[in-house]
């Protein structure tokens, strides 16, 4: 019995499968483009929000009208929440990116700088309006270099959920962002290993759980939030 090899069908199947895959890759490219556009738009909005918040605090400082402080802080806090969401999102997009990786990295850098600017503004706002808030700087790296960083972020997430707007966390990815400002910050706070946290200018290295961080943060408030009181109980 002569058996045949259906060469033509193998070739057609190969062409069709390759075609479907190319279509998938093209779709991926279109989506990557759309994602960079989406982040660009977000960045433009958030930059405008930042400048607005900055102007509001400068105005308050100039006129020394502190009765508007709580309302302005609400806006600053909402902007920071939005910024954090975008930071998480852009990090995930950068991981997924294939062709446009450098564009996403540039966007990550822009967001890193915005985060620094927001931290500086929050510090200044604290002085102008006497906000009873605590700021935490979180220096982290990727899973390969810092396997404990995700666990530290988990603890910070818990603290954020417990303390709400009384706690501002600024996260800086030292690995993916190629930006001189990172080195300045690291030198300023003596950050050498990851994860590292800076709470009220005090450095905490390695993994710290809530039992360590809760008391440190709570002691920094003039008037302790409810979560701190619950914690002490």
């Amino acid at each position: 019995m002569t058996r045949i090899v259906s060469k033509d069908k193998y070739i057609i199947a190969l062409i069709a499968t390759t075609g479907i895959f190319i279509l998938g890759l093209l779709l991926g490219l279109v989506i990557e483009n759309a994602r960079t556009g989406y982040i660009d738009d977000k960045y433009a909005d958030q930059d405008l929000d930042f400048r607005s918040s900055q102007l509001q605090y400068e105005f308050l400082n100039l006129l020394e009208e502190k009765e508007n402080c709580p309302a302005i802080y609400q806006t600053l806090y909402a902007n920071l929440e939005e910024l954090e969401k975008t930071r998480v999102r852009i990090e995930s997009y950068t991981k997924d990116a294939t062709i446009e990786k450098s564009e996403f990295q540039a966007l990550e850098r822009e967001y890193f700088l915005t985060e620094v600017r927001y931290w500086m503004l929050a510090t200044k706002a604290k002085e102008i309006c006497d906000h009873d808030i605590v700021t935490v700087l979180n220096f982290y790296s990727d899973e390969e270099e810092c396997p404990l960083c995700n666990q530290q972020s988990f603890v910070l997430g818990y603290l954020k959920k417990s303390l709400g707007e009384r706690l501002l966390i600024f996260s800086f990815n030292v690995k993916t962002v190629d930006e001189p400002m990172i080195e300045i910050l690291k030198t300023a706070f003596n950050v050498e290993t990851y994860p590292s946290l800076v709470i009220n200018e005090e450095l905490f290295t390695d993994l710290n759980d809530v039992d360590v961080l809760f008391p440190v943060i709570c002691d920094s408030y003039e008037e302790e939030p409810e979560a701190c009181l619950d914690w002490e109980e």
Binding site: S6, Y10, A13, A16, T17, L27, R89, K161, D209
Partner: protein, 416 residues
């Protein structure tokens, strides 16, 4: 996910899609030979029922053979009790007594396995055609009339009926019912290229002389039905899959039984594929060497890779989450009280979504065509089972493949 893993996954997606596209091309370009041939004469047929502790179904199985639309004097029924310790043998004797007009014989042997039981029957068989019917299977009355005409071609060594699950009630049986329906469609397509690689126990009809010529059934094989089919292919014979008559078989109704059955099947497929590796990508064996042999190997590799990845990356975040809870004194209530959904449409991994949509579309198309070709309605048992089948069944089969890999690595001996 690291780059090496991503590349491996993409290769697996590509190969899976390639196989699916290939068989769809075979379906689209097939020449339908719908003209049913009528049997001109009635050759003598030996129907063998190998039975090991089959007291629950043996009587019904014998009854389904005696109900065959075929002259009573043109077939014999050989029931081989493979060392049964229950009432199987006495029930067979009762069946012989109450069906005296039929030629039914009971052959007994010590428990040696199905292959040995078939060979014992083969030695006694007088039929030009030798039929194997598992004791847990039931046949259409017209099975022989529909199947025997295909032996007109001298190179046809085996003809297989359409195989379905017998009266599925439990969800697990229904899932297997869907699987069998799709498999039948797939086997019909395999038949178009003479690529059928397994002759299942339920009512496979063989040309006796060919089975004897190639050395009978392999008594030491855990999947003798797959081995004999590969050996027939190796010896250049044809295996025909028909769709116009069906056999139903009892399916495992517990996860443990199903796991054991599939573990044996998959292990047997792998071991026999290596036994006949000479056929792999060998021009002499045509499409069988180029598509079917690689499929046997790759289906395992693909299943293991995809399932390991899904289990690892799907469960990793939850395991990490549980592990991380220790850092917050297991206070998950705070997380639950402050759930914050941060989702944008762009967050979806579109390439993966695209591949999933393509795969799902192909699967649904195949399911649709399967129900037409097998003359069934996939929603006959409701839509819940179909959804469970689509989402979870392949995961289960992947887990079985993982089990096979572990067993082989540990050198575990497989009993039939």
């Amino acid at each position: 996910m690291n780059i090496a893993m991503t590349i491996i996954l993409w290769i697996m997606y590509f190969i899976s899609l390639y196989f699916a596209v290939f068989w769809l091309i075979i379906f689209v370009t097939r020449d339908d030979d719908n003209e049913e041939e009528i049997l001109q004469e009635f050759p003598f047929v030996s129907v063998t029922i190998p039975a090991y502790n089959e007291e629950k179904s043996i009587k019904t199985t014998i009854e389904s053979v005696t109900n065959l639309e075929y002259p009573k004097d043109r077939f014999e029924v050989l029931v081989v009790s493979d060392g049964s310790t229950d009432n199987t043998e006495s029930l067979v004797r009762e069946a012989i007594e109450s069906n005296k007009k039929y030629n039914i014989q009971l052959i007994t042997q010590k428990n040696k396995g199905k292959g040995a039981a078939l060979n014992k029957a083969l030695n006694k068989a007088k039929g030009e055609f030798f039929v194997c019917l598992d004791a847990d299977s039931f046949i259409d009355n017209d099975a022989l009339l529909k199947m025997l005409p295909y032996f007109k071609d001298e190179k046809v060594a085996a003809v297989l009926p359409s195989l379905k699950v017998h009266k599925p009630e439990k969800l697990l049986e229904k899932l297997q019912w869907y699987e069998y329906i799709i498999n039948m469609f797939y086997k019909e397509l395999m038949g178009k290229l003479n690529c059928v690689h397994v002759a299942p126990g339920p009512f496979s009809v063989y040309r006796t002389s060919i089975i004897k010529e190639i050395g009978k059934f392999d008594e030491n094989n855990i999947t003798e039905d797959l081995e004999i089919a590969l050996r027939l292919q190796y010896n250049d014979y044809k295996i025909v899959q028909v769709m116009n008559t069906e056999v139903t078989t009892l399916a495992p109704d517990t996860i443990k039984e199903l796991y054991t059955q599939r573990n044996r099947w998959f292990k047997g497929a792998l071991l026999n594929a290596f036994k006949y590796k000479k056929m792999m990508f060998n021009k002499k064996y045509g499409d069988f060497g180029f598509i079917q042999m690689p499929t046997i190997i790759f289906s395992g590799v693909i299943a293991i890779t995809l399932v390991s990845t899904i289990l690892y990356y799907g469960m990793k975040p939850y395991i990490e989450y549980l592990y991380n809870l220790r850092l917050v004194n297991f206070d998950f209530i705070t997380f639950l009280k402050n759930i914050n959904i941060n989702f944008a449409l762009f967050d979806l991994n579109y390439v993966t979504v695209f591949i999933a949509v393509v795969m799902l579309t192909v699967t649904l198309y195949i399911m649709k065509k399967s129900e037409v070709r097998t003359n069934e309605k996939l929603l006959k048992y409701g839509s819940f089972g179909v959804i469970v089948y689509l989402i979870f069944y392949f995961l289960f089969l992947g887990i079985v493949w993982l089990g096979v890999l572990v067993d082989i690595a540990r050198g575990k001996k497989q009993a039939w």
